[in-house]
Structures are given as structure tokens and as C-alpha cells.
Amino acid sequence: MATVKLENIYKSFDETEVLFDINLEIKDKEFVVFVGPSGCGKTTLLRIISGLEEATSGSVIIDDKDVSNAPPVERGIAMVFQSYALYPHLSVFENIAFPLRVAKVNEKELEEKVFKAAEILQLRDRLDFKPGQLSGGQRQRVAIGRSIVRDPKVFLFDEPLSNLDAALRGDMRVELAKLHQNLKTTMIYVTHDQIEAMTMADKIVVLRDGVIEQVGSPMDLYHNPRTKFVAGFIGQPNMNFLKTTDTEIKNNNLFTNIGDLALDLAVDISSIKAGDEIDIGIRPEDLGVSASKLGIPMSVDVVEHIGATVILHGSVLGNSNFCAVVPSDSTIKPGETVNLVFDSSKCHAFNSSGQALMKTNK
């Protein structure tokens, strides 16, 4: 049982303010991912929860107990560092046993716990090795082992997979998800990789410039991003944006033209008026290639065949970073121009300050 509650957390380093009024509730056994670009404050927030950093103001509440001023060891947390922070002079066994030695656990119990952790993480035959003799993935597992033996209430992960190569990262993602299912504890995970966030999280917290942009389930963020930033950050490849000022409001709906296509968007129009500049967001996977002349023309620069699908990169109506995902049997070649069509109900609209015009679903 462990809930985590953050109340009005502010943090500044000297003059630089890095976190503003962070409020967040994390439920028991939830896998929460803090995601955002570098410098957004996500690691600082994690360190404040761990107790390695003190918040300038605000409180950290774990299991209904205010631990804002408690040292890390009294918070019931365990942390896995980006660099793994393994003790190079100690064997794998001693690395995993380290927290237990600090806590002066008796030898028999210590051995049992270390062996059990090693069993879970498939490190039984590596216990006598030094960290330097292990592969990246194994070191990662030792670091996790060291956090498991303490039976923490909350696991904190600080970009644990960023030092691994792509293939290993995929494997470790699955292992971490399994670990979460086995241990059934609350986990807070920091990453800048939105794929990690999407695949592992029960709840994603998107941070930007020290502020929480949006909190929600992965699919919620994917389908209903509340800001242009979240829309662009979540989803791979990134959402495409097209600017338009050709806007009209009729019957409480937003009407606009993108190229030859007339869009009728059922969105909340309270924050805009006719003629305002808005951004229309379309996910690459929601685009289709039209057989007719209808649609918006895209001049294709690069064609990526990734097996299941084909990704087209090119420019559309002045946006040179446009991207579309088309079926793998496509024969489109670089240099060609294709007409793209899409369903207006799949579109997202954002006002000039980057706020989403939420769908009204009439």
C-alpha cells in the first residue's frame, strides 16, 4: 500500500526556478511515468520525492504521511539511477546486499533476500562478478536488484534505460512491466522517451518547463491532448500541424479549409472567434493517400520502409516536416507528389496559445 501525493511543490536552484506549483496524486500500485523534454524538471521532481533534493516549498506525502523533511531511508522508497550507481569495487552480491548491510540485517536473511532478488532478475550465476564484468542490461538488473531487496513502498526510476541500446531497451521495457506486475508496488518512472511512457505507464505526467501539462492514461493523452505540446510529444511519428487563419464559426462548429479540403470540426469554440489563427493537428497514421485529385498535396522527400508500414516525409502547404504513415504495399517514391486525405473527426485543433479546442462530440 503506497500512495504518493505532491502538494504545491515549488523548486528553484538559486535564481533559476525549475518547478512551479506541482500537484499530483499517485494511486497505490500505479505505474506513473514523468515524461518531458530535457530540462523540464522531471528528474528534479523525482529527486524531491526521493528526498535527495528538497523542495523550496510544498509537501511530499507518502501513504498519508508528510515526509517532506524526512531523509530518503525513512520514506520507504528505493531508487534506480540512470548511471545505475553500482559500486565498482563490490561484487554483484555485495552490490545487491548493500542496503541490507546498511540496515544491519542478519546474514541468513540477507542471503535469502539477495538470492531471491537474483532469482527474479536472473542474476544467480553472476553474483560473484564485479559490475565491470557485466553487460549493460545485467548492470541495469543489478541496480534494480539493489532496490528490490529493501521491499520499498515506492520504486523510483530515473531514466533507467537510456544507457542501453535500442534492442535491449525494448527487452528491459517488457521486463520492467513484468516486474511491476509481480511486485505490485507503486512505481514512478522518469524518461524523455515517449515510447517508454506509452508502453509502460498506467498514468503519464507530461512536464514542460517545470509545469505539468497534462496527466492521463496513455490512450487519453493520445486521443485527447489538451495542448499542442502534448499532442506533438505523444505519438510516434509526431503529429503534423498546419496553420490556418481561414476560420469560420457556424452552428457552434469550427469551419476551416486546408488546401482543397473543407473541415467541419465539432470543438469547443469558446476561446476563439472567426478569423483567428489556429493549428490543425493530424496524426501521420490518420492520413490516407487519395486516388483522386482531391486532398492536400504532399511532395515526398524521403520514404522509409519499416516493414509493417511505410513512412513518408515531405512538405505540405509550407510545412516541410510533414509525415504520413501509409500501408506497406505503397509504391510511392521520393520526388513524387501525392494527395492526402483524412477524416475531420480525427483532427485536433489548437488556438494560438497552444491550448486544444476540446472535441464536443455532438
Binding site: S50, G51, L52, P71, P72, V73, I77, A78, M79, F81, Q82, S83, A85, L86, Y87, P88, H89, L90, F98, P99, V102, A103, F129, K130, P131, G132, Q133, G136, R146, R150, N163
Partner: protein
């Protein structure tokens, strides 16, 4: 005819490269030969002769092991060797302990840390002779600061000349040697401590490890290679430390501060017994050689114990 063809044949590329390499190191090799190898050989040769002031113009005789028999069999020799090792262990021990304490303090995150670090340097930066003269004044019985202070607070009831008594002279020399030798040890330890990744400490802190626990199980093992190598270097320097003792006491009073190197100098230069002096120099080399071998064996064991088991990324 065939030799002519051989001569006309162009040299292979690797031959010229080798020649060029030899040419490049030749000047350095020559200097090394004249200032290291030749004197070493000469010392070794002299140690088997009765060379002295009288035989300076030639005529020193080869006398076999006589010098060695006299030196090792001499009445004072065992006590000089014991004293030298005592001097070395005492001084190096203090340098290591003070260096470790100093480095730990300087590594801590306190205000004015930069200034503190700079203030550690002077004993090491100031020329040894000048530092020693400063200490001579401090130790002086009549106008020395230490004696005056001791009298003022009632430790002594009159002027006390620190360098005039056997015991106090020896320990005073140790204090000065430690004063001069500690800054470098401190800075090396500090550099090593700063090389320890910060997240190791954070990880241990999250696990609830106390400051002392972190120092014992992270800092010490992490800087152990530096401690070990500094201890060896410091031991050799201290063993051979000449100018500090010479300026303070000239090996006196009544031989109380005469270490092997002082004895060597006194025999060879003051008594003009070049052969007998050379013998002592050779003995110093042998003793330090044995010491180094023992030491390197211990070092090997230590690095196995604290080793990283390979290179960590």
C-alpha cells in the same frame, strides 16, 4: 661485388623507421646514461674500493666486501637502519592520515572551499630550505615561538630548545617532514575523491548509509589505488629525505636524527670515505628495492580486492 649490391640496395621502410626512432631517443638515452646509469655504476664500483681523500688522485684499491662488512657489522648500523624505518613509518603514517582527513574536509561542500584549498599549498610551494629555516626559528629555545608559548601556558618552566635533545629533536624533525609532505598527499587524495561518481554516494544515502559508512565503504575503497601509490612514493621520498633533517639538526644531537641517507652523506662527504659512503648508498638502493618488491606484492593483492574486475563504462 655482392656487398656492393647490398650497399646500393635501398633500405627497407621498417629499417629506416627503426633508425629514425633510435635517433629520436638517442639524446634522452645519452642524458639518462650519464646522469643515471653511469653514477649508479660508479657508486657500485666505489663501494668495493677504499677510495678516500688520499686516493683522490688515483690509487684506490679494490678491497672486496670489506666496506660492506664494516658498514653492516658496525656498532651504529642496526640502530641507524631501525631509526630510518621508524622515521619513515611514523612520518608516512602521519602524512597519510592527515592527508586523508584534510582531503575529506576540503572535499566537503563548504563556503570558502577554494580559499581553503589554496591555503593548504604553502608548505609544499615554499622551497624546502626556507620552510625548514622557519621551523628552525619556531624550535629555537630562546626566541622560538613554540618554546615561548609552552612557557607562557605553563607546559615548560623555561626556554626549551626542541632540537637540542635526542627525543625532541627526532620528533620535531618528523613534524617538519610531515608539514612539508602532507599538502601533496592531501591534494592527490582530494583529486581522487573528486573522481568518485556522486551518484554512488546518493545511492548509498537513499539506502540510509551514514556519512562514516559511506566514507568507509565507498570513498576509501574507491581511492585505495591512490592511497597505495601515494604511500609508496611518500615512503621512498621520506626514506631518502635529506635536506629537512640536515638543515634542522645535521643528524644530531649525538646521531639522534641520523637516518641512512644522512649517514651516507656524513661518511662520504664529511669523513671523505667515498668508498664506505658509496657502500651505504648501495645499501639504501638494496633496502628500498626489497621494500618496493614487498610493497608491489601487497599492492597487487589490494588491487585484486578492490579492483573493478574490468573497465566500467
Amino acid at each position: 661485388m655482392s656487398s656492393l649490391i647490398q650497399m646500393l640496395k635501398p633500405k627497407t621502410k621498417s629499417q629506416t623507421t627503426t633508425m629514425f626512432a633510435w635517433a629520436l631517443i638517442a639524446p634522452a638515452a645519452m642524458v639518462m646514461f650519464w646522469i643515471v646509469l653511469w653514477p649508479l655504476y660508479e657508486t657500485f664500483r666505489l663501494s668495493f674500493t677504499n677510495s678516500n681523500l688520499g686516493t683522490l688522485m688515483g690509487g684506490a684499491d679494490f678491497i672486496g666486501w670489506e666496506n660492506y662488512e664494516k658498514a653492516i657489522g658496525g656498532r651504529k648500523f642496526p640502530s641507524i637502519v631501525t631509526r630510518t624505518f621508524y622515521w619513515m613509518f611514523l612520518s608516512v603514517g602521519f602524512k597519510m592520515i592527515l592527508g586523508l582527513i584534510g582531503a575529506t574536509l576540503l572535499a566537503s561542500n563548504i563556503r570558502g572551499r577554494g580559499l581553503m584549498r589554496a591555503l593548504v599549498m604553502p608548505p609544499w610551494i615554499v622551497p624546502i630550505a626556507i620552510g625548514c629555516f622557519g621551523w628552525l626559528w619556531l624550535y629555537n629555545g630562546h626566541f622560538g615561538l613554540l618554546s615561548n608559548f609552552a612557557e607562557m601556558v605553563g607546559i615548560t618552566n623555561g626556554p626549551f630548545s626542541f632540537l637540542a635533545y635526542k627525543q625532541s629533536a627526532f620528533y620535531s624533525a618528523v613534524v617538519t617532514d610531515v608539514w612539508i609532505g602532507t599538502p601533496m598527499v592531501t591534494l592527490f587524495f582530494l583529486a581522487a575523491m573528486q573522481g568518485v561518481p556522486k551518484d554512488l554516494y546518493e545511492a548509498a544515502y537513499v539506502d540510509g548509509a551514514s556519512r562514516w559508512y559511506r566514507f568507509r565503504r565507498i570513498t576509501l575503497p574507491q581511492i585505495m589505488p591512490t592511497i597505495v601509490s601515494m604511500a609508496l612514493l611518500s615512503a621512498i621520498w621520506t626514506f631518502n629525505s635529506f635536506e629537512i633533517i640536515w638543515i634542522l639538526t645535521e643528524g644530531g644531537p649525538r646521531g639522534a636524527t641520523t637516518t641512512l641517507i644522512i649517514d651516507t652523506f656524513k661518511t662520504a662527504i664529511f669523513s671523505y670515505k667515498f668508498g664506505a659512503g658509496a657502500t651505504r648508498a648501495v645499501l639504501v638502493v638494496l633496502i628500498l628495492g626489497v621494500f618496493s618488491v614487498i610493497y608491489l606484492t601487497v599492492l597487487g593483492r589490494l588491487s585484486k580486492k578492490y579492483g573493478y574486475g574490468g573497465v566500467q563504462k
